[in-house]
């Protein structure tokens, strides 16, 4: 297949948090050269880009408000972003997020790391697993690790779902391994109600 087509409204809807819905684009098309996803918020005030940094991935990110209106947080600043607005973050350490100011706001996000060939991020699998039943979520995370290889984020989220599935020993083993690979995940685990008891 040399090409594929989909309308934004036809993409899968995966609820994430605070009204944010992930609409997988890269996974849908099998894109290998860059990261790209859409996010929607049906209600005013709902999250349309979750607050985060790109410190782990080192990605530059471009957000495009395709429909509706959002209020972006860029570090300590805020900016109004009606449809057609582009918001670019060159520094992975800058905290970013966005809240919908109109119903049905859609934001397209593109990301990759300068100077490196793109590899998909483990969070795609963790987002997909977020709303799944525990055993299905464990299978999704294992698929991610098989596809991408061992990574701290992948193992961290695998541990989370293993704990949900009652696989406490495996969860502990994978969490310890995640922290070995990236000690920063120790902080995440310490702050997570579910995982902190494993440490």
């Amino acid at each position: 297949m040399t090409y594929q087509k989909a309308h934004l409204d036809e993409l899968d809807r995966i609820p994430v948090d605070q009204g944010l819905e992930w609409r997988p684009v890269r996974r849908r098309f099998g894109i290998q050269a860059f990261g790209v996803n859409a996010y929607t918020a049906e209600k005013v005030g709902a999250c349309v880009v979750e607050e985060h940094t790109e410190t782990t991935s080192g990605h530059q990110e471009l957000y495009v408000v395709v429909r509706g209106r959002a209020r972006f947080t860029l570090g300590d600043e805020e900016t109004d972003a009606p449809a057609g607005t582009l918001v670019f973050f060159s520094d992975p350490a800058v905290k970013r997020g966005a809240v919908a100011e109109e119903e049905g706001t859609v934001v397209l996000a593109v990301g990759a790391k300068p100077g490196e060939a793109f590899t998909p991020s483990g969070w795609e699998w963790s987002f997909a697993a977020a709303e799944q039943e525990p055993e299905e979520a464990v299978a999704t995370m294992r698929d991610g690790i098989e596809t991408l290889g061992e990574s701290a984020p992948g193992l961290y989220h695998l541990a989370r779902h293993e704990l949900r599935a009652g696989r406490r020993d495996e969860a502990k083993e994978h969490l310890v391994r995640a922290i070995e690979l990236d000690p920063g995940f120790r902080t995440y685990a310490d702050e997570a109600d579910d995982l902190k008891e494993l440490l």
Binding site: Y3, Q4, F34, V64, G75, G84, F88, V94
Partner: protein
């Protein structure tokens, strides 16, 4: 500046091209938008990605377009995404509404992104083409002769330099040298040259014939 917000309408356009990557200084992937003024106008010029080998994702941000990919027509109202994985696929789009805007993202799988030479040398290319259209071939060639000093790996600039020199009546050896460099950078130009009427003045010259004899 580690972050910036801009509306598409605030970026200075170059014909239909809205140079997003350059505006922000993005170094991780290629991205641009294109806006057609009128219905019926090309919003994405027909092309392949054989040179850059990019995967490309097109997003219709506003308006309505008809894409053509390898002869298949694709109706694309606002919100449509068209992903072309095969660099060899011929693709283009025509606006069905005035102001139709298409965002495109591109990069090569398995390879760190590099800015495409056409993007960096766009101004020189446009200036040279304007002179070419006025049949001021020698002047057009001079613009590109200077440009290739700055962009020595731009297959397209070398190819057009060969075309313009040919039309200007330059020495066949000079035409062949530029064409040879363009083919070295992108072998597909050998086939283009076989059909390109710009090379009629040198078509029977031994240096030119020798270049095109090699099976591509």
């Amino acid at each position: 500046m580690s972050y910036r917000a801009t509306h598409l309408d605030q970026i200075e356009k170059r014909d239909t091209w809205i140079p997003i990557r350059e505006h922000f200084g993005i170094g991780a992937f290629g991205t641009n938008a294109y806006r057609a003024k009128e219905a019926g106008e090309a919003v994405i010029g027909e092309h392949s990605e054989l040179m850059a080998k990019h995967e490309e994702l097109y997003a219709v941000v506003s308006g309505h377009a008809t894409f053509t990919v390898d002869g298949d027509e694709i109706d694309a109202p606002a919100g449509t995404l068209v992903f072309v994985s095969d660099p060899a696929a011929r693709r283009g789009a025509v606006a069905k509404e005035a102001g139709t805007t298409v965002l495109v993202v591109g990069a090569t799988p398995g390879k760190a992104f590099e800015v495409s030479p056409w993007e960096e040398s766009w101004r020189e290319g446009q200036d040279a083409m304007a002179l070419y259209r006025e049949q001021r071939y020698a002047e057009a060639a001079d613009v590109l002769r200077e440009a290739v000093q700055r962009f020595p790996d731009s297959a397209g600039l070398f190819y057009n330099l060969a075309c313009f020199d040919s039309m200007a009546g330059a020495e066949p050896a000079a035409v062949a040298a530029s064409l040879s460099r363009s083919i070295e950078l992108f072998p597909g130009f050998r086939d283009y040259a076989r059909e390109d009427s710009d090379f009629e003045p040198v078509r029977n010259e031994p240096a030119f014939e020798e270049l095109l004899e090699v099976t591509s």
